[in-house]
Symmetry: C2
Subunit: 347 residues, 2 copies
Amino acid sequence: KHILVIPGDGIGPEVTTWGKAVLEKIGSQFGHEFTFDEALMGHAGIEATGSPLPDETLEKAKASDAILFGAIGHIKYDNDPSAKVRPEQGLLKIRKELGLYANLRPIMLFDELLDASSLKPEILKGTDILFFRELTGDVYFGEKKRSEDGNTASDLMIYHRYEVERIATKAFEAARARSKRLCSVDKANVLEASRLWREVVQELAKQYPDVETEHMFIDNAAMQLVKNPKKFDVVLTANLFGDILTDEASQIAGSMGMLASASIGDGTGFFEPIHGSAHDIAGKDKANPLASILSVALMLEISFGLKEEAKKITDAIDKALKDGYRTGDIADANTDKAKILGTTAMG
Amino acid sequence: KHILVIPGDGIGPEVTTWGKAVLEKIGSQFGHEFTFDEALMGHAGIEATGSPLPDETLEKAKASDAILFGAIGHIKYDNDPSAKVRPEQGLLKIRKELGLYANLRPIMLFDELLDASSLKPEILKGTDILFFRELTGDVYFGEKKRSEDGNTASDLMIYHRYEVERIATKAFEAARARSKRLCSVDKANVLEASRLWREVVQELAKQYPDVETEHMFIDNAAMQLVKNPKKFDVVLTANLFGDILTDEASQIAGSMGMLASASIGDGTGFFEPIHGSAHDIAGKDKANPLASILSVALMLEISFGLKEEAKKITDAIDKALKDGYRTGDIADANTDKAKILGTTAMG
Ligand SMILES: CC(C)[C@H](C(=O)O)[C@@H](O)C(=O)O
Ligand SMILES: CC(C)[C@H](C(=O)O)[C@@H](O)C(=O)O
């Protein structure tokens, strides 16, 4: 299997170094041959070539069996809303070009880290959510306009039936294989795009009579997630709502630095941590590499069907946590100071 | 002062009954003359006249000095995405017609209810946030389209400079009068409308050098709100993001049934609880009337400048809570069963 590593920006290079190292280790332990290549994206791409997604990166991506991605974004652009070329365009473009329409974000709890959440442990315990976030449509990709005088700006929030159908189908299939509960989140009381979304999900639901389907408005979902995260199992939602809800959920799980995501669709799968580029700690050997390592576990399971290998990784992480090892972001007052590790040591 | 009461749907009529009763009591205690009228909106409007905002309601609204609103929405429409006439249209239309562009949502903690939140008390204690949600623009009011074959649906997310300026000005003024911190929330790394938003807020910030201004992406904000709600003071955001964040925040405060909001702008102010129509408990004397009563306190303070009268109300609520009285939604395992009251008794 040929894997393209795209380190990206900020802490991306540090964490993907360890994701890649774990893949190599799994390869030698289990006798798989993994070959690697590397490519630029985001701010790193802009610096080197002027483009947030250089052509070469896209070619390499299409030619690979899976992609391990780090993080994207740079504070420079955040403070300059008028910049025409922006790191994030690279990520959005590769999602579109590779047809990565389904973003899977498992929100899982690490028992050892239960106290790291701001939620009460009794509210949290037992939470296990699998988000299906649509990733190549919505207001992310609809037409963007700025009036000539600069005083009016717009983005088109748009969905086509087939876009909703294909991601919803994936979510229903997953729900069937899990606890048979699916919650679709929209804002159908206000948005036309959401009404189409709800129609399609309602229709599909008829083909999955064994799955209990619920519809929830986004404002209510953002609230219920804090109130009682356990009530959710598979959550299906649009691109923008998914962006918001999954970040909220990862914090609820107390595990922002521990969560991985898989973007899949028509071809090559794309695996990345949920966390961002965290420039404030970049290059300081402080970043938590576990989300990148867990991204590799997702890759092994989803793209290559290597379940045993994936489990070997999650077991190793469980053990490290049980043994008391932590990076700074997941340490708390009870952590043995000598067991707070940097990126390298944890990797 | 002439007050229009719009009970609306679900538990709306029950809770506004008590909001109105408190206004009458304040009037007689302080020697103010309040006169009242009533009008229909939402599902109640549709049932009686076919319209979610009957003309008569709009006329009465424009002629009043302030409006006390209950709640809107009906499960019937939620499950029927193709319904052309919907209760929520009434609320959206009255916001637009009255120019209610600024929705103020104070998220405050009631010390007695600290345990009602799913967050740990130490994370929560000290939280005091004032949201400024833009209310008459964004994807709520942009053009909605459905293709002829029904397979494509869209909503235009759109902002004009003046719309951002006027709400941002209100938020900066409030920040200046409070702790001098303002956090503006957008998605400027992806959305053009957000880039305009950020530009305008950055420009305005120059006129408020005494206010510490921060910009945050919505996904990060949804997360930080759970992680550390105390870090927020005045939060300024667009219509859709505000809808999501304020509901999330109200749950964090553990006080969904206790929070009021004020919508203000060009003319008459509009006061309503944050909670929804809660049809499941409607008509059962179970609804918590305190958010409606607190809406009245906001009305007295904001529309009529009657601070002492407003304080009389919040003090009375504090006392009821200190004395151990609760409605079902805010009761917990430690509540004395005899002190769990219905709507009428709490009112
Ligand atoms: C970086 C940004 C464009 C991106 C998104 O909004 O999709 C990120 O927040 C994510 O969730 O992957
Ligand atoms: C009922 C609905 C249209 C409304 C909104 O989304 O604005 C409500 O959720 C609110 O927050 O007032």
